[in-house]
């Protein structure tokens, strides 16, 4: 692999750090369970997936790469399923989805001086 693999891994790990941070920020920024789940599960999945891609680029042998591929496949199945189960529970317990309020201040027109 050499330098190319390390470069790919570097990019993947940087992406993972960015998306992971975004997931945590979204978890605290949004007010209701659905939106929090959107941010955290989606960005978390992408972050972990990026880390796996980086590991795949650094893998030393074919056996390890094959194992990583199997782990990635299981992760791609299990992660959205986990998010879906939490969302389904929230939906079944009747939580109303949050709507952002339109806070449109009355715009002051320069030609209508009150």
């Amino acid at each position: 692999m050499g330098i190319v693999g390390e470069f790919i891994a570097l990019i993947a790990f940087i992406a993972a750090a960015i998306f992971g941070t975004a997931g945590i920020v979204g978890l605290y920024r949004f007010p209701d369970p659905y939106a929090r789940l959107q941010a955290s599960s989606l960005c978390g999945t992408t972050a972990v997936f990026s880390i796996f891609i980086g590991c795949l680029a650094l893998a030393s042998s074919l056996a390890i790469a094959a194992r990583l591929l199997v782990i990635i496949m299981f992760f791609l199945i299990s992660s959205p399923t986990g998010g879906h189960i939490v969302a389904k529970f929230a939906w079944n317990s009747g939580i109303d989805p949050w709507r952002p309020e339109r806070t449109e201040r009355p715009r002051r027109r320069w030609w209508k001086r009150a």
Binding site: Y34, Q38, F49
Partner: protein
């Protein structure tokens, strides 16, 4: 009764084969002991779970055996859409602008496995989470909604995935 038993045996065999293949990939060794342990474990797990792994009514081989090349294409598209949606979510986070809605639509996919994969893929697409899946009826929380029209929403959310999935299974 005969066909039911034969189908059960076949499901058992397929479950066992899949489990054993994963075991061999994970251990990556061909010792007698490792192979023996894996066979015992796979047999036990297949005996317990073959009814869940492949349900009895999925009586067509196309229902759970994918076309490999199309599946690889689908996975590549899935990864691409995952990164795309993460970037969109990042932008929505920074600008603090969102339009969450709950939309309902139906899917044309026939098999359970394809429907499950569709629900999981929808959880990947630009800010959508599958809330509920009843037979062919999907309830989806859409974070960056652009329309209220239910069929148009269905086309936007599931359209590309559904077309690809119909070629993988069914």
């Amino acid at each position: 009764m005969r066909t039911v038993n034969a189908w059960r045996l076949m499901r058992f065999g397929i479950s066992f084969g899949a489990l054993y293949a994963v075991w061999i990939v994970f251990t990556a060794s061909v010792d007698a002991f490792s192979l023996f342990t894996g066979a015992i474990g796979s047999l036990a797990i297949a005996a317990l779970t073959h009814d869940i792994f492949i349900a009895q009514h999925e009586a067509s081989l196309r229902a759970f055996v994918p076309r490999p090349l199309v599946l690889v294409g689908f996975l590549a598209f899935l990864v691409y859409s995952m990164y795309l949606s993460s970037v969109q979510m990042l932008v929505a986070l920074i600008r603090g602008r969102a339009n969450p809605r709950v939309v309902h639509f139906r899917t044309r996919l026939k098999t359970d496995l394809a429907r499950m994969v569709l629900a999981n893929s929808i959880t990947f697409t630009p800010g959508t989470i599958t809330l509920d899946l009843n037979d062919d009826h999907l309830t989806v929380h859409w974070f960056l909604a652009t329309t209220r029209h239910s069929r148009a929403a269905g086309d936007i959310v599931k359209g590309k995935f559904e077309d690809r999935l119909r070629r993988v299974w069914s």
